[in-house]
C-alpha cells in the first residue's frame, strides 16, 4: 500500500507543479497582451500610456474624415462629445464606418498626439453601440455636467 500512496503523492505533486506552471505562464501572457480601453478624454488628459497598444472608442466626429491623395491613408477624429482625438489609419475601413457612428480603433498613441490605428472596427449592426463606447460617452457627459456646475 505504501507504493500506492507514494504514487498518489507523486501524482498530486506533478499535477500541482503543472497547474502552477500553467497558471504562471497564462498570467504572464495575459499581462503582456491586455489592451486597455480608453476614451478620447482619457487620452487627451494624459491618462493613457504612450507606448502600449490600446483600444480607443468613441464616435467619429462629423465632417472630420480626410484622405491622403495617393495612398490609402485616412484621418478622422474620434470624440466622446467632450474631448477630441485625431486618428490616422492606413487601409480599408469597415462598411459600417460612418461619421457620427461609433467606432473602436486598436493602435498606439504617436509622439505627435495622433492615435495611429492598425485596426478599425465598426459593428455588425447599425443600431448597436459597443458597451465601452456608450460608457465613455456617459463618463464624459457626467464630467461635463460636473464642470458646468462648478463654474
Amino acid at each position: 500500500m505504501r507504493t500506492q500512496r507514494q504514487r498518489r503523492l507523486w501524482m498530486a505533486g506533478a499535477i500541482l507543479l503543472g497547474v502552477g506552471t500553467a497558471t504562471a505562464l497564462v498570467l504572464t501572457a495575459l499581462r503582456d497582451n491586455l489592451e486597455h480601453f480608453y476614451s478620447p478624454s482619457d487620452v487627451v488628459e494624459g491618462r493613457a500610456p504612450a507606448d502600449r497598444t490600446m483600444r480607443l472608442g468613441g464616435l467619429v466626429l462629423e465632417e472630420s474624415m480626410t484622405r491622403a491623395p495617393q495612398s490609402l491613408e485616412v484621418g478622422f477624429v474620434v470624440t466622446d462629445r467632450f474631448k477630441e482625438l485625431p486618428v490616422r489609419y492606413t487601409g480599408i475601413l469597415p462598411d459600417l464606418f460612418r461619421e457620427g457612428q461609433s467606432v473602436v480603433a486598436t493602435g498606439k498613441l504617436g509622439g505627435d498626439g495622433v492615435f495611429v490605428a492598425n485596426q478599425v472596427l465598426a459593428k455588425h449592426d447599425e443600431t448597436y453601440m459597443p458597451a465601452e463606447v456608450a460608457d465613455a460617452i456617459e463618463r464624459a457627459k457626467t464630467k461635463k455636467a460636473q464642470e458646468a456646475k462648478s463654474l
Partner: protein
Amino acid sequence: MIAELGQVALILALLLAVVQATLPLLGSLKGRDDWMALARPAALAQTGFVVIAFALLAVAFLVQDFSLAYVAQHSNLRLPPHYRLSAVWGAHEGSLLLWVLVLGTWTSAVALASRRLPLPFMARVLSVLGIISVGFIAFTLFTSNPFLRHLPPLLDGNDLNPLLQDFGLIVHPPMLYMGYVGFAVPFAFAVAALIEGRVDSEWVRWSRPWTLVAWAFLTIGIALGSWWAYYELGWGGWWFWDPVENASFMPWLIGTALIHSQAVTDKRGSFRAWTLLLAIFAFSLSLLGTFLVRSGVLTSVHAFASDPSRGLYILIFLALVSGSALTLYAVRAPRLSGDLESPFGIVSRESLLLSNNLLLAAACALVLIGTLFPLLADAFGWGKFSVGPAYFGPYFFGLMVPLVMLLPFGPLSRWQQSDPAALWRLLRWSAFAAIAGGAVAWIAWRDSLGWKGALGVVGGTWLALGVVAAWRARATSPRDVVATGSVAPVRRLNAGFVGMLVAHAGMAMFVAGVLLTESSSIEKDVRLAPGESITVRGLEFRFVSVGSANGPNYQADRGQFEVWRNDRQLAVLHPEKRLYSGGSQIMTEAAIDAGFTRDLYVALGEPLREAEASAPGTQAWAVRIYHKPFMRWVWLGAVLMMFGGLVAATDRRYRRARAAVPVDAGRARAAASSLLGAAA
C-alpha cells in the same frame, strides 16, 4: 391569428416541458412506473408544440405578416424567400426559438431511441432534458417572445441586417446549435447517472454515439462560421480569437476530450468520474457560450443588438443548471470510482488518452481565462480591457504541439501497458518522413514558407502517416484481440475505428492547412483604378472595370478583376459593393476563386473620391487582395472530422446490449424459444 396560435403552442410546450421535467424524475425516486412512463409522451408532445410554434413563425415570415413586431423588424417586402426563412433565426428572439427547437429535436430522438434503457434511467435523462427545456421555453416566452404584436400592422418591414442576408446565416446557426445543444444529451446522461449513484458501462456506451453526433455538428457549425467570417470583410478573417468565436470553441475542446475519455470508460471502466465531469462541463460551456453571445457583455465583431438584462436570465439559469450538476457531482463522484479503476502503465492507451484530455482541458482553460478576463476586470473595477489575439495564438500553439506529437501513438498503443520500443518501431519511418518532408518544403519554398509553414508540413505528414500506420496495424495483425482485452473476436475495421481514422486524417489536414495558410498568406490593401494592375506572388491582378448590378433588394457597384499568370488567365472575379435599400446599409461582397492549394480573394473597399472630378468608371478604389495558400484545408479538415464523428457514431457496438442485461437476455431467450417452436 398566427401570433395567437404560436403563443398558445409555446405555452402548451412549456406546460408539457414542466410535466416532462418533474413527474418522471419524482417517479424514478419513488418507484412509480406510471409517472416514469410519462417521460416519453410528454417529451414528444412538448417537441411537437415547439415544432408548431417554430413553423408558425416561419410562416409569418414567408407570408410577410408585419403585425408581428419581430417579423416587421427583421424582414421586408423585397427580402427573397430563402432569406425570409433564415431571418426566423436572424435575431435574438427567433434564435432562441431555434435553440428550443433543436433541444426538442434531440429530446425526441432520445425518447424514441431509448427503449432499451432501464425505465428509471430513461425517465431521469428525459427529465433533465425537460428541465433545460423549461428554462429556455420560459426565457423565450417571458423575455424574448417572437410572437408579440405590432399594432396596427406595418405596411412594410424594416429589413434583415444585410450582413445576415447570406448563405452563412442559413446553415451556420442550425449546425452550431445542433452541436451546442446536443451536448445536453451527455449532460443529461451524466446527471441521471449521478442521481442513480453509479455509472454502468452500458450507459456510457449508450451515450457515446449521441456525443459523437453532437460533436460532429459542432465541428461543422464552427467550420461554417469560420468560412463565413473569412469571406465577410471586416469580421477578422477565418479565426480571430473573438469572444463569440471562443464561445463556440470551448465546448468543442471539452467535447473532443469527452469523446476520448468516454472511450476509456466504455472499454476499460476507468475515468468514470472524469467522463461525467467533462460531460457536465461541455454543456455548461455551451450555456456559457449562449450567455456570452446573447447578452453582448463582451465586445465582439460578431455581436448583434443584444440586451444585458436578458443575458442575466441566462447567467442565472447557467448558475442553477451547472451549479446543481456540479454539486451533485461533488457529493456523488467519490463513490463512483475508487476500486473500479483498473491500473495502467506510464506508456499505455489510457495514459495517452489522459494526456489528450489534459492538453485539451488546458487549452480550454487558456481560452476561457482570456475570454472572461475582460468581464472580471470590469466587474472588479480594474478598468476596461480586451485581450488581444497575441495572447491566444502562441500559447494555444504551444499546447497543440505535444498533442500532435502524441496523437499517432494513441490508436497504436495497447490498453494497460504498451511497449514503447514496439510503438516506436511502428512509427519511426513516419517520424523520419515527416521531418524530411518539412525539411524539403523549407528548402524548396524558403522565401514564402515561414518556420510555421515547415512545421505545418511536419505535423500534417506525421498525423497522416500515423493514420496509415494505425490502419495497417489493425488490418494486418491479430493484435487487436489482445489489445482491446475482449475475449470475443473483434471485427477488425469496425465503424468506430474507421471513424477515428477519418477524424484523425481531418486533423492532419487541418494542422497542415492552418500553419501553411497562416505562414504564407499575402494580404494587401491597395489603391487601384480600372485599367491598373498589381502583381502578387507572380499573379497579376488586373482591375478591368466597374459596372453596376442590381439585386432584388440592393444596388451594387460590380468590379471585374482578371487574374493572370504570364499569358494564361486563371480566374475572373466579380467583387461587389452593395447598397441595401431597407436600412441604406453598405455591404462588401468579396469575390473568391477557391482552389485546393490556394485561394484568390478580391474585395472592393470604398471608392476614393479625388479632389479633381474624375469621370465615372475611372475612379480609383481601395482594393483588398489576398493570396492564401491551402486555405481550404482548414475547413476540409473540419469536414473530415465531422464525417469521422458521424461514421464512428454508427458503430454497432454502441447499440448492442451486453449479455449481462437480464431483461434483454430474457427477451432473447423467449424469442429464441418461440423461433425454435416455429421451426419445430
